[in-house]
Chain length 270, copies 2
Amino acid sequence: MELKDKNGLTEAEFLAQYDPGDYPRPSVTVDMMVLGTKKDLSGLRILLIKRGGHPYLNSWALPGGFVHPDETCYEAAKRELREETGIKDVFLEQVYTFSKPDRDPRTRVMSVAYIALTPFTLPVKGGDDALEAAWFDFEFTDNKIHIYNEDIGVDILYYLSTKRFKNGHIKYPNLVPTLKSKTKLAFDHVEIIVESMKKIRKEIEYTDLPFSMAEVSFTLPDLQVIYELLLGHKLYKANFRIMVADRIEPLGEKGKSIVGRRMSELYILK
Amino acid sequence: MELKDKNGLTEAEFLAQYDPGDYPRPSVTVDMMVLGTKKDLSGLRILLIKRGGHPYLNSWALPGGFVHPDETCYEAAKRELREETGIKDVFLEQVYTFSKPDRDPRTRVMSVAYIALTPFTLPVKGGDDALEAAWFDFEFTDNKIHIYNEDIGVDILYYLSTKRFKNGHIKYPNLVPTLKSKTKLAFDHVEIIVESMKKIRKEIEYTDLPFSMAEVSFTLPDLQVIYELLLGHKLYKANFRIMVADRIEPLGEKGKSIVGRRMSELYILK
DNA sequence: ATAATAGTGTCTATCAGACATTATCTG
DNA sequence: CAGATAATGTCTGATAGACACTATTAT
């Protein structure tokens, strides 16, 4: 017994004759905030791509690209990351979908933002003709976002202020960036960074997210520094170890930690 | 000094000649999980719409609709909600963007999911020709999702199980629904419900989200019940009051609480 | 040897969970 | 007046924050 709609069509018949029509449809891209660390774990780094065409010609932007017709946004983010940087098996998490109609001056483009966390500061595919990519030092505090690379002479600075917005009849605070440097990021990519960092700091409390910036086996001094970098403040060693104790497993082996000078017990995530 | 790209065009020239081309673009919709409460606060209710056409003809679905070319997803959700139910000033929060290529059999449709929380179980625009809407009793526990309305003889049940997935080299648990009733929800709307409820329960810890299901002024016994409904478990009165103490302000007036039989102090959210 | 740091012990303030008690209202 | 419930008091165990101390090792 097949269901028929008001035109007397079965589902198969309906789908065969279905015409998507020409409602205006948006383009959909994914953009990734890719975070790594400096080799000595003395700071965070963010991966940016220099734009080779209008709009925002010569500005730096988050890596990203169009979602293909046969893939999910997650798969698109994974593919783009592989194509642009060569990394696989990276931690990838959806953050938010940005949809202001004028966020891209060319045409309507929505962007699904992702966080990507990598254990290594991987070598960047430089010199690739259209595509110039580079890692930048990245500082995110309560007051500012600072993105800079002295080698290529780029310095991008935004101040952050907290404003209160209404949603229904409840109010909530939100971070608003204001450009303070000559150079700026392309599109609304600062906002993507703000949302992504907010999400990271919230999720650290109840997920294993910082482990994805450590190697598979790691020492506790190194892991602690990664936590501190993501959180933006120091932790007490003893407290930190109590906190992660039930999530880690000792390998029974020692290794050199990046951050210290002595050998230290190696662990893996349970 | 205007920047020119590799074709010698300025940004204005580039935009004037820009052709979005015919890359296949997805349709983008918003879908809302609209939650209210029963009049006596004895349970949660969810608003569903009966589908009048293929696919999923006669199935119940979350309310939603296409994002127009001149509006953000948030604005689309607000508009759809107003059009379909008449409510304004509702709490609306983006949850997740669902993008499986085959999630809609007609054509590629991505959906940006929203949570909508309302203080009232508003009267539903029934009888509107194509659109039949109704409130359903809604139970969401660790083991199951139960959506039912005895008046119209609909009973939808999913079991929930926890599975572990990998993201990069870290693992995380996730809830997976399995259909247990004859009737099912349209599209991937169960998954939208699962993600939305997960988000609500997480956000209760650090936001004022439950206040958006109370009237502007409310009694503490009522507010506590709303918290309990959203969390899915009971709270101790004294502890609850300590928890919300610094977020509320007494009106200096008493009112009848819905849930109790006595008068109780009225409060507003700070 | 010594400076640095890996690793552990422990004190304290705070907070969530759990009951208990008192005050007040409604039928 | 009696039963219900609004409102508050307080005990306990767990936990985060803070600091101190010991053990080990690279130079």
